[in-house]
Symmetry: C2
Subunit: 390 residues, 2 copies
């Protein structure tokens, strides 16, 4: 019997998705939009072992286009997991010591309820009938998952970019369930410029005639070109100008001189085209619309009466706020705003700005200072939590 | 008889384009691609009066999507000319004193030879058969125009963004014909990041099924949605993050609360959609492909054996290099690179970085310090040139 007094929800495992649990059987999830949603699946993976005290759980929150496959070989792309550098035995998120959980977000396309899933109420793919969800909705679905797993609170919640938004939402909404919080390359509200970039990506997708007003799956097509354009544009924002200059500069691709045409003369063009084309093979266009919308809607201060510090009143969580100096999508100023709000409520907060040319994507890359910061903060927090040394 | 000993080229005036002259009758323009191009039309407008000594001519070079309608009411949009704030009686480019010439660039869509024009050799619209042109090709067409107008040299050549690229090309290729040069918010080569943004815009256009491999005009359609997406994305890069935050922030458009849908909830979305939709009414999609390509190809140092200073050896022109501190598309570092190259050949160069939140578009806006800098530099240069005070 779970806390609702109902039968335990069904759980099953699929190679593509990891574990899947159907939540909301006893009571639906009331979305911020007012929709009563459920039952719905959440796909997740876990790494490491939950200790007897259930006190060593770390929730990893993923970014826009990532998923629960934090480490190991990705079942679709065959690439290593997106946080192979950070999670694993002996790594900063040491799976010999911590129990790491990563669910696919609500609205995603890797097994959790999202627009490419079957609506159990109609037996049809949701497509454009999927409700618009928020970061807060994603977090409440994660709370339901943790209750299902019997984990009363988190040693740590961590994530980069949109993952960092979820971390902030967790800390604000469930302060008693968060011992430590690590928002990385994040912001407490999505900026006008970032909403603008998202809107262009969405327009590119919706301009593709194969989008079919969102109903493309039942027509057996996908808005391949629109989604590729959206990805290409977004990808530019994930890298720094310096990184692009160093990696590609004006180098030509497979040729000695300009072609005086519209082929990919430059390596950077060829690289972007590849990014667009490969993204289409692994990500759902409607999910892209819904998840970007969730990020646009994120504004923690607005939800707390207009002042960010109010979101954190009374918090006893320990925070480590991390930014990267070459990140122009979620610049350090956004992290500083979070730190100031935490300072205003006398929270326990460390602030680390990492020097790197890698831009926003630095949180995914092998940046030793970043990993050292994670390791140091987690070691200290674990000591305070009374977790045995790894 | 002109310099080629042939009959003078035909000139005609059209309200939409200003004056149009057909150049290259006596000898074609040899493009950088190797194509022998011509005869071809160049549309231009002039403002003010050429003095008896023919020594007061200022060539204004326009940016990517602008044209020869520098001041006055634009014949297509009905809006004021793009440099109404800068050009006119008593303004920094004082038409009581100077003779201002602005041609539509080669590859443009406002009367000069471009992909939306008729190829005189076939009687059909060029479309994708138009040759890829370079900034240098544009400048050589301008040289032909000035020869037609009987103007041996320029008091000044000035322009922002792609206009600044033309200014640099003029100074490098025709040092004896340039008394003063003012490259604004420009660069001596297009960066990897900027090539990347252009490539995404081109992919958005070419992904639109109405592009029809460039042959849309003969099918009676235009790639409206693709061009709008390209413009929306580019428009973000013309503004600073600060300007977007100040102008729009997270303000909602015509509503009190979020719609939980994909309409334009936010003002910034509504604004961008408007920018995209209105651009389609005034600009040709193929021109957008060709002109962005010309910018991508621009690399003054590569043309000078790999070292930028070599492009300016022996120059006696006076330079005023201007940048805007919030411009992240053509940041100050690009202008500084130009200044360093000019310093290396002991050129006469002033460097002005203007403080403004307006981003790249600052060169089009009413920024008093910028206009004061133009006024001061032009006054000094005119004195040195021996032009009578205005």
């Amino acid at each position: 019997m779970n806390q609702h007094g109902a039968a335990p929800p069904p759980t099953y495992a699929l190679a593509r998705f990891g574990q899947i649990v159907e939540l909301g059987h006893a009571a639906p999830l009331r979305l911020d939009s007012g929709v009563e949603f459920g039952p719905f699946p959440i796909a997740y993976r876990t790494f490491g072992t939950l200790n007897a005290e259930r006190s060593n759980a770390i929730l990893v929150c993923h970014a826009l286009t990532l998923d629960q496959h934090v480490i190991g070989t990705h079942p679709v792309t065959g690439n290593p997991g997106w946080w192979d550098a950070v999670v694993g035995p002996g790594k900063p998120l040491d799976t010999d010591r911590f129990f790491v959980i990563c669910p696919n977000v609500l609205g995603g396309c890797m097994g959790s309820a999202g627009p490419n899933q079957i609506d159990p109420n109609t037996g049809e793919v949701y497509a454009a009938a999927f409700p618009v969800v928020t970061i807060s909705d994603m977090v409440r679905a994660q709370v339901m998952l943790l209750e299902h797993l019997g984990i009363p609170d988190l040693f740590c919640v961590i994530g980069g970019s949109m993952g960092g938004m979820q971390v902030l939402q967790w800390a604000a909404s469930y302060p008693d369930r968060v011992f430590a919080a690590i928002p990385i390359a994040a912001a407490a509200r999505h900026s006008a410029q970032n909403i603008a970039f998202h809107e262009v990506g969405r327009q590119a997708i919706m301009a593709d005639p194969d989008w079919r007003n969102g109903e493309y799956l039942r027509h057996g097509v996908i808005p391949r070109q629109g989604l590729a354009v959206a990805r290409m544009m977004a990808h530019i924002t994930y890298l720094s100008e310096t990184a692009l200059a160093q990696k590609f500069g004006r180098n030509l691709q497979d040729r000695l001189r300009l072609s005086f045409g519209f082929d990919a003369d430059f390596q950077v063009e060829s690289y972007l085209r590849h990014q667009g084309a490969s993204f289409v093979e692994r990500f759902d266009a409607n999910s892209y619309l819904y998840i970007t919308r969730a990020m646009d809607y994120f504004d923690l201060a607005a939800d707390a009466g207009g002042e960010l510090w109010r979101a954190f009143v009374g918090t006893r969580s320990r925070f480590c706020v991390i930014s990267f100096d070459s990140d122009w999508l979620f610049p350090t100023a956004e992290s500083r705003t979070i730190v100031h709000a935490l300072n205003a409520v006398a929270a326990n907060v460390s602030f680390v700005e990492i020097e790197t040319d890698a831009g926003h994507d630095a949180f995914l890359l092998n940046v030793p200072e970043f990993h050292a910061a994670l390791r140091g903060f987690l070691r200290g927090a674990a000591e305070h939590r009374g977790l045995a040394a790894g």
